[in-house]
Symmetry: C4
Subunit: 275 residues, 4 copies
């Protein structure tokens, strides 16, 4: 009886913790999310600044302190998260569970190994945790139209990317034959890299054709890239326009049963019946 | 009585000045705006030319004269503006009031301080005054569709920019680990800068990957950038198309006088009255 | 009587010539246009090749012969055009009349002056004559939708270009203050040039920021450019979409008088009446 | 009689082979296509890696073995294809027949000639064979909307490309006159190449204007390019949006069985039958 009571008490304490940490409906949960958001941003900024020689030399100790402050904070948060869920294993091996672990582990590993610069950079993955907070706060409801448009046009984009891939392989190989290695086209992969740089209109200029024939082919590639950049834009625009139109309203008139009313319509625009 | 008369006379003189300077309904006001427009353009050109060594050496005195001519002109205009409004303080601390002050102050400060080159460049802010003239002339009514489309898609663009920000931070960090500092990836901020330069397809080429793995990742970034440039275009195009469609019908309801009906509507969607 | 007869004969001879040269309705006129098209393309190619040192050294005489062959051909054509119109002066001072003159004049001037290399390049204007031929052949009817879309969105594009102009002047000035002259920002005009190169995502890399603050501002400029490139695309797409929709069909049903039928519709889609 | 039986047996054996190799309806045919797809990808990867000095030096023998394995495999496949069709000549001289031959021939020619590096690269054409497999698997049904949109806007795109061509020739010539050869504008073709690089916003930076006038003209070219990139995007987007709209309704008329009715159609627009 006493044991049951304890169990109940522990459960209520756990569910309350769960509400604060994993949800954003209560004021406490909302507050927690906002604090977490700032902690993530500040700790990521610390990781970024640490990579700049100027800051690591002059403010190394401050950054070290900030880093450990947030590592300990996130470690506590990680332990509390494990305690607050009913099935800890499910959380630990979930996507966000692994991200949470990866964002604290490198700091601890840094205590045992000497050169962990590239290991510690993994902490930048903390940034992924922003998505969890955003999900909770409901900010991402705005992102739904975008996501839907991208998902709906997924297959068309796949076909487009496949065509682009074949195109850059063929164009890269053509340029590898035409241009001499001196101008940077030393191998087919590098020539494919050049074709991508050109077709996407990035154009670094580290590899650029110097022969007349090469420049003629490059001109064709550019105008091609200029024309086909229109394709993904067309696909996604069309999808967003359609979503806007179809998602406007699904209400049908009780009298004539016709649909297509605006969101602010109070009367059927076809028969004048009240909606 | 005399005092009142004077006050009335002063008021009518003030309101007439106000009409000319702050409005564009009368021929005099319109003339004033056109003169102001040219004065702004010429004085900004003088500031720009002054920064070119060739012109500041050979035509320094001419530019000095032009500069002071417009500074005195704008100073007179500023004083007249203060005189012509009923509550001078409201004007002085308004956005355009501060811009007006900032566009004359640097020249006067240049009399007391020796090296004011970067200070004097602030005068380029005079350019902002063009917006006031345009606002008056009514030219900006054309800009409304654009502004509405941008405002309506503000939240979607925010989500898009947030996603792009997280993307460039992660991609920049990945490239910082992959590439050696010799090729320009000396710190995470510089690598993020590279990611932005690449994702937006600007591609200076001052920082460019040299390793095979780095070029492979860069290729992915470019094709990604190529695909996601379609998203803001889709958002804004969709918004402009929608605005065009909804604003096409200007019919107003004979009963409730509200507008915004579809082209195929036969009854008012707000009150059910036959259109 | 004899004179009148001669005049009539001359007139009929002139009107026949006019038909061949200025119109494209008859087989002869069509043949003339196609020959002219090829003559323009070949002579322009000769001008282009002449500018390449390799060709001017090795095939100088061939190019010289080609050049004079087409110059004499175009001169004869020019004289015949003058003879075939009723009011020669109207033709001579028309846009295409001046283009015709400019495309033969430089070659003759080259006989009297020694260094006419830049003068002779003017002959490239012959390319403009292609538009006349295209206009005649009726090829440009396809271009009408494009032209209409551009004209309809002219004012919005003007507002957009004005905003971009003010933006690049302000951004260029900001970068001129932030960056040192060593990295290429030697004057405000050059900095404005950089801002245009960056905002349009061209990105040569001849001028690129090197300081941290400069790169941060440049990043903002790029993301801005990335976002606002969507605006002209949105304007023109919206215009083309609207043109497509409204120009689809203006036929109204004889029974219920409703419009919006497809081009291939044979029966009214609302009441089933034959169109 | 025996001969006829043999012929029948051979025919059934041939038609079964044909079904597996040329079609994708049966499980065997589908399996064959998937194996072929992987064989193409792996053999193309081998050709690409062979061009990299590192791989050709260290793994030359492995690549040689892989190459001959696939060459023999594709040779067997080629012979079987010839055997399985009724009219071998039709297959051999068809587009895919020639691609199949070109993808094995270079390896055999390499046995007789010494320096065949550029010849052997032709094997990359094997990549084209992917399209055949995709066609069979039915993956390309998704590509139809894209293809239709491109075909429907073919003429508009032609007009656009013609205008762009004339534009870059004129702009290139103007820059050739303005800029000195030292900055890279050594001939008109090179200047045209620069104009294309700039107008398409690629911007390598290998040729860039250095004079003030040249940079001013270049700025105009960039802003022009910025504006006209909107045109192909608008054309294709408009086409995809229209296709989406017209293809959304799949209702067919009960009387004449034709499709393509609008969503709000109540009567068949071809025969007037009630839908």
């Amino acid at each position: 009886m006493a044991s049951e009571h304890t169990s109940n008490r522990r459960d209520s304490w756990r569910s309350k913790l769960h509400e604060i940490i994993f949800e954003a409906d209560t004021p406490a949960g909302r507050r927690f999310d906002i604090i977490l958001l700032w902690a993530i941003v500040v700790s990521v900024l610390a990781v970024i600044l640490e990579s700049v020689p100027y800051f690591s030399l002059n403010y190394g100790e401050v950054l070290w302190a900030v880093e450990w402050f947030f590592t300990i904070l996130f470690t506590i948060e990680y332990i509390v998260r494990i305690l607050s869920v009913k099935r800890p294993m499910n959380y630990i091996f979930s996507f966000f569970g692994l991200v949470d672990l990866l964002s604290i582990l490198p700091s601890f590993l840094g205590l045992y190994f000497v050169d962990t610069s590239s290991l510690r950079v993994i902490r930048i993955l903390r940034l992924m945790r922003i998505f969890r907070v955003l999900k909770l706060i409901g900010f991402l409801s705005q992102a739904r139209t975008l996501r839907d448009a991208l998902i709906a046009s997924k297959q068309k984009i796949m076909v487009f990317l496949l065509a682009v891939t074949i195109l850059v392989v063929v164009l890269g190989t053509v340029m590898y034959i035409i241009e001499s290695p001196e101008s940077g086209f030393t191998s087919i992969p590098r020539s494919i890299y050049w074709a991508i740089v050109t077709l996407t209109t990035v154009g670094y200029g580290d590899i650029a054709p110097v022969t007349a024939l090469g420049q003629a082919v490059a001109s064709l590639v550019m105008i091609l890239g200029y024309a086909i950049i229109a394709v993904p834009t067309g696909i996604i625009t069309s999808e967003i326009v359609r979503n806007d139109v179809t998602s406007s309203n699904t209400q049908s008139c009780p009298s004539c049963s016709r649909e297509g009313h605006d969101d602010d319509a109070e009367f059927c625009k076809y028969c004048g019946e009240k909606l």
